[in-house]
């Protein structure tokens, strides 16, 4: 009975520890990523993160207002160039793919007109098997 209890406790502790580690990892990545947002850019006040395994793709939808320049930063790990991110319009026309720009960790987008977009992000195979993907969206004052 005591043996079973100890085993269960160890498993729970391991799982909780894993969960806390994942959050801490994301916070570390976010702190490294925020340096791409200079003072000229205002955060949209939201926090975007996903834990990705292997070939998983993080996806979310966003509306970008016309007449505005946005900066999107997408990071994983502490260094640059670990994440591929792509932006599509609602008809899945590709608007941008950072893999065509040496996997740049951030890029600026000038929207002539308001658009609803889909953003996808994926950890580059070989860079890391899994990890936290953090995205940040800011707009120019």
């Amino acid at each position: 009975m005591i043996r079973k209890f100890t085993i269960a406790l160890a498993l729970i502790a391991a799982l909780v520890s894993f969960g806390n580690k994942a959050t801490a990892q994301c916070d570390t990545v976010a702190n490294a990523c925020v340096r791409h947002m200079t003072n000229k850019y205002i955060s949209d006040g939201q926090h975007y993160r996903a834990l990705l395994l292997d070939k998983e793709i993080a996806e979310f939808q966003s509306t970008f207002y016309g007449g505005t320049t946005y900066r999107i930063a997408a990071c994983s790990g502490l260094g640059d160039g670990n994440l591929v991110f792509r932006i599509f319009d609602k008809d899945r026309n590709l608007l941008f793919d950072n893999s065509e720009q040496q996997n740049a960790s951030y890029w600026d987008f000038k929207f002539i007109s308001t658009l609803d977009c889909v953003i996808e992000a994926q950890i580059i195979p070989g860079k890391a098997p899994s990890g936290c993907a953090v995205m940040m969206i800011s707009f120019k004052q």
Binding site: T6, L11, A14, R49, A50, K55, E56, D91, F96, Y106
Partner: protein, 305 residues
Amino acid sequence: MNHKKYLKLALVGFVLFSATALLSSCNDDKNKTEDTDEEPVDAAKDNIVSVNGELFSIPSPLQSSMLLKSSGANYAKDILNLTSHLPSYSTEYKKALNLGVYGADLGYVIIYGQTQDALGYLNASKRLADDINVSGAFDASLMKRFEKNMGNNDSLLSIFTSGYRATDSYLKNNDRNAVSGMVITGGWIESLYFTLNILKKDFKNKQVVVQRVGEQKNTLDHVIKLLTPFYQNPEMTELTELTDALLELYHEFEDIEVKYTFVKPTTDVANKTTTINSKTEVKINEEQLKNITEKLNAIRQMIIN
């Protein structure tokens, strides 16, 4: 048995559990594929993970304030939510929504350079953030930096948006997604409220602001979807009522014509900038604007009173 053997067993158990969890997730994906109709398997779709368990981001209320100012609208303090309403917000529902509302108001005040009003809204935001146990988002250091930078609008914007991002981050890290959704919803409702009501006043470039109202159709759809996971929660009846009201509001947007034309983007590699040339045209008439204003005003009254 001694403790070393117990630990060995625990470690083996953890490895077995993890392996089982991973294999099980692979099998679930396989089963999903087998259960679908005879559609070709889209490997990319099967690997999609939503961000924060949500699929949407909502534009910042600051952008509405920036548009109003650049369109020539004068500062209108009378449309903002009074900070004197603060003591009446006693439930987590009211506190979270009005944290978003006061955040939108604070952004508006800063954009217009009305720093004498800013501190009141920042204090209100801090009080509500503390009340909903968002540990440290509006800490003493942030409050001090804000006071120190009064008069420097750029710094004030940077400081207060960092407080709101920290709030969002804390709530999502702690799986308080309903509260996060309410804060974001409150901010969106307030920003649309002051946009619609400032349109009643005179200023030079109204058409672009009217267009922005029409462009909220998709954002409203996303706001509703953000709140939908909590819709039938018996502990969140007020949130269900709010979602119903937002659905009623969405009916007023349904007939707004939106025409989209894809145009190839152009990239300036040296400046790391891509210009998105695609065009969206929105057609919204006076009747639609009037109906949207009436319904939005009623929703806003519901959350600030």
